[in-house]
């Protein structure tokens, strides 16, 4: 099996403050890879570094084996590396439909935007009902669906999803995880960062645990023992 994404001894951070310390991990094509870890472990920084929003100071980022470290964020997006960011970051003063169309902005995605929009509307009937509504008036769950739909409009080769269940009601969280499970079943390559460990593990093909900017555990999804993971999770937290 080939890897859609390889992170090799990556170092990255904000100015003088280094956050990631030689992080290495791989995302297998067509699989769902999950990163768990406590607050401040560097999960979001890792995703931002993969997108080029945070500069990588050492190591490499490879997409389908090709180094992408020197590429600008927008070129990485055009290349098929898509991020559905934490906090959703939809365009609040644009309509639902215009938000989706922004997802099709990369030139390679424009040709098929109608077909992709129909696919997204089919997956999220609630968005279809609200297509003309200003996105800022959506509920949290609907906004998350919009963020996911917008990401799918970008025709991802690799889809980075950051904390999709954050701040949502339990019943909405169920819905979001059903959608993620469906995307996994359809063969989308996903790198998911999630605090809701038990839920995330159920859809994981591979799991990484991050602590203080390092990968401390790498395990196949079906082999992860939740109790042991939690023990590690908290052991490092108290040790640190």
């Amino acid at each position: 099996m080939t890897n859609a994404l390889d992170i090799l001894t990556l170092r990255a951070g904000y100015g003088a403050i280094n956050v990631l310390w030689d992080v290495s991990l791989s995302v297998e094509t067509g699989k769902t890879t999950v990163i768990v870890g406590p607050n401040g472990a560097g999960k979001t920084t890792l995703l931002r570094a993969i997108m080029g929003l945070v500069p990588a100071t050492a190591g490499d980022i490879r997409v389908d084996g090709q180094s992408r470290k020197a590429m600008k964020t927008w070129d990485r997006v055009a290349d098929g590396v898509v991020m559905i960011p934490e906090g959703r970051m939809i365009f609040p003063d644009m309509t639902v439909e215009d938000n989706l169309m922004m997802g099709a902005f990369p030139p390679g995605c424009r040709r098929d935007w109608k077909r992709n929009k129909a696919m997204v509307m089919d997956m999220f009937p609630r968005l279809a009902e609200r297509r003309g509504q200003i996105a800022g008036t959506l509920s949290g769950g609907e906004a998350q669906m919009l963020a996911i739909g917008r990401g799918l409009m970008e025709q991802p080769r690799v889809c980075l999803i950051d904390e999709p269940s954050l701040g949502l009601a339990p019943v909405v969280v169920d819905e979001i995880f059903r959608i993620l499970a469906r995307l996994r079943a359809e063969g989308l390559t996903i790198l998911l960062v999630e605090q809701n460990t038990s839920r995330a593990l159920k859809i994981a093909d591979h799991v990484y645990l991050m602590q203080s900017g390092k990968v401390v555990l790498s395990e196949r999804g079906d082999r992860v023992d939740l109790e042991r993971l939690h023990a590690l999770y908290f052991a490092h937290e108290t040790a640190a």
Partner: protein, 292 residues
């Protein structure tokens, strides 16, 4: 009395149209870059002087000189952008200082080339008046500028709402990081907004030269007026800017008609302060949404 009032309202409406073409350019640049281009009025002035030079030095009808002016004003606007985009620290305050300085340079360049005299077109067609509905008078140039300005603004509005690049302008002004994650290169969109602002500025400059008078100190007057209109409308929507501009135009015109021409600027300012006092986020407030 009624006729006088109607005439004042009509003149104010026409003036509002050209104020709006100046203000929309300023608002567009503010939307994409969060920067107030204090040299925007000077770009309008530059276009007006290109029209003047074409007419007096080369004997060309001002309308024929529009392509040349577009190139000159577009280049000037691109230079402003190139300098602005090099600012890395304290962008808000430094961009104000930079563009204010560039405005002074442009004004003085114009002053040294064309002196401080007041100019207007010598082409009689522009200054001929037309009569509408038997009572309302306007110069041909004013009506042409109003209609042309509306068409131009409608075009920009359509572009913002229905084109890939225009949508990217709105996305960038809504959430910069998110727009980048949609594959938008912010620099491309920013330069594009400067060029469209230059297009609007060029048109406004020709409108002023043919319908009003130009002099080197006019630049910063226009900048301030455009800024007031943009804030009055609530930083954003093109229809909002148009309504704000017409309000300013009408109140100025009423003041000139019934009070005194020397109170014209004061009346606009008072309207501005009253609106901000009542609704601090502007008439169509809260919205950072371009094109809504």
């Amino acid at each position: 009395m009624l006729e006088l009032t109607l005439q004042a309202l009509f003149s104010g409406l026409l003036a509002g149209g050209y104020y709006a073409t100046v203000a929309v350019g300023l608002a567009l640049v503010f939307g994409t870059m969060r920067v107030i281009n204090l040299a925007h009025g000077e770009l309008v002035l530059l276009a007006a002087y290109v029209a003047y030079a074409a007419e007096t030095n080369y004997g060309v009808n001002p309308v024929m000189a529009i392509p040349v002016a577009l190139v000159i004003v577009g280049t000037a606007s691109a230079i402003v952008y190139a300098l602005l985009s090099r600012i890395n620290q304290d962008r808000e305050i430094n961009s104000l200082i930079l563009t204010f300085g560039l405005g002074i340079i442009l004004t003085n360049a114009i002053l040294s080339i064309w002196a401080a005299d007041i100019h207007s077109t010598s082409d009689p067609w522009f200054q001929d008046s037309m009569v509408i509905a038997d009572t309302l008078f306007a110069m041909n140039a004013e009506v042409a500028a109003f209609i042309g300005g509306l068409v131009l603004m409608a075009g920009v509005w359509w572009w913002l709402n229905h084109s890939w690049q225009g949508r990217a302008v709105r996305a960038l002004s809504s959430n910069r990081a998110a727009a980048t994650l949609m594959g938008v290169n912010p620099r491309k969109i920013e330069i594009l907004s400067f060029l469209i602002a230059a297009l609007l500025a060029t048109f406004a400059g020709f409108a002023i030269y043919t319908g009003k008078t130009v002099f080197p100190a006019l630049g910063h007057v226009l900048t301030v007026k455009a800024f007031i209109i943009t804030v009055l409308a609530g930083m954003g929507s093109i229809p909002g800017v148009l309504i704000g501009a017409i309000m300013i135009g009408v109140i100025e015109s009423l003041t000139v008609t019934y009070l005194s021409a020397s109170l014209q600027e004061l009346a606009g300012m008072i309207l501005f302060l009253v609106v901000l006092f009542v609704s601090p986020s502007g008439l169509f407030g809260g919205g950072r949404a371009l094109a809504r």
